[in-house]
Amino acid sequence: MVLFRSSLSELYTSVNTERNAPAADTPQPSNTLDSYTQLRKLADAHQTFTMNGEISNKQLRKVTGELSLLSRSDGSASLCSGDTSMIASVYGPAEVKIAKEQISRATVEVTYRPKSGMPGCNEKLKENIICNTCESVILTCLHPRSSVSLTIQELHHAGSQLACALNVANLALLDANVNMKFMVAAVNCAFTDKGQLILDPTLKEEQAARVTMTFAFDSVSKDILTVYTTGLYTEEEFDTALKACKAASVEIFNFYKEIMQKNLSKE
């Protein structure tokens, strides 16, 4: 315990660099491999040992993105949140199949493609969640008898998948310039067995977690749009998670603004 505390600051930086750099970009020389794995172990330990019961990761992983990277779609975006990365494209308001046509509003269709294999039940569930969120974001009443179709391709899965998918969907909608009521930012968090809150957990942390929660907030009133949780939790835990995620969502909204500013100031 004492050992951990003495090297806390050092560990923290190591954790941060590890979380922020893509995994492929950290080649380890063979002679330091042992020390590296040791560090990894310590880093994992860090999250359960420090800050008794407090939030151990107050920061989100580094978020980077790119807009209009596909040439044929009306809008597209890629988003990397830590190592989790996804790409999304939007077509719309476009032609709609007669079976799906709605007289009073636009139809929102979402397709979620996993990194490998065919989409299964999990992907359908995600599609449903994203579709419902997007329907409340897009001003569908402005484009009756048309469709807004969104395709999200998972590129790498390293935790906080649903949050990343929601954020990349929002970014692609912004790029396509679909009429929207507000923007959406999603944040994922997890509770460990010992009741610590981890914001934006990695895949490993997610798998070990007792509870995972994903919140999506709107940009105007900062209210909840969507909640998706797994596991059993108390009311207090929900409130702490909500508070922490809400605070973190500001960071994502700022990121949206930054990236759009960059995109529009090209001229």
């Binding site: 009306d74 001003l139 396509a176 940009s219």
Partner: protein, 266 residues
Amino acid sequence: MADEMELDDEIENEAIEQAPEVNTLFMPGQTIDNLKALEGTLKVVLGPGLQIQGSKVVVTKVGILRFKEPNVYWLDSHQRRYVPVQGDHVLGVCSMKAGDVFRVDIGSNEPAGLSYLAFEGATKRNRPDVRVGDLLYAKVQTANKNMETELVCVNNQEKSAGMGVIRNGGFVFTSPLHLVRKLLNPECVLLKTLGKTLKFEVAIGMNGRVWVKGRSSVDTIAVANAIMSAEHMTNNQIKVMCQRLSHVLSTVPKEDLEPEEVENIT
């Protein structure tokens, strides 16, 4: 050309204290206060990207807020999908002949209708010669989200005014809508500068489609590439680019020149 903005609504504005930040970025959901109204009337005209919700003016798109005296506000944004607006000139492809109307694909959510009587000199007996696959330059007559878009190929005086079927080859490409708006902006020097060294015809549709025809296929490709690459260029950069282009083109052997007279219709 129809590069003027469609103005949606008029609202009443209570207090005029501080003007909103014009020429800055606005994101969906943001509200705009203190719009500058027409003197004495409390009226403000809102363009694309702005909407009234209750008593507030809300932004619905990402873009830069623009203002024009005396009381016009709109959002300047980047978009690739066309949403029909009345009065726009568009380029479409005839996709179907259905009785009295042609169905024309203009890149919007549904094909637009074009009556066979909406051509210069067309009567019930004298039908225009439009075939499926033909390129049409037309004007949007009615654009309503709840109704089918209607096109016409005549102006108020029942003259074609450059509209109608475009034949004799050329090349069509699609570009983002803001590029088209830029080309039609009187301040943009691209077409004028290109026209100094090259002879070409061009038809620009507000739906993001551009048809170009030069004297040779080399010229056509050069003009098309120049337009496509001008998206993020300033006027000075455009001039430099055109200079380089004319320099490169002067080295290309002129073999397949067609002797026909070329005129600029836009």
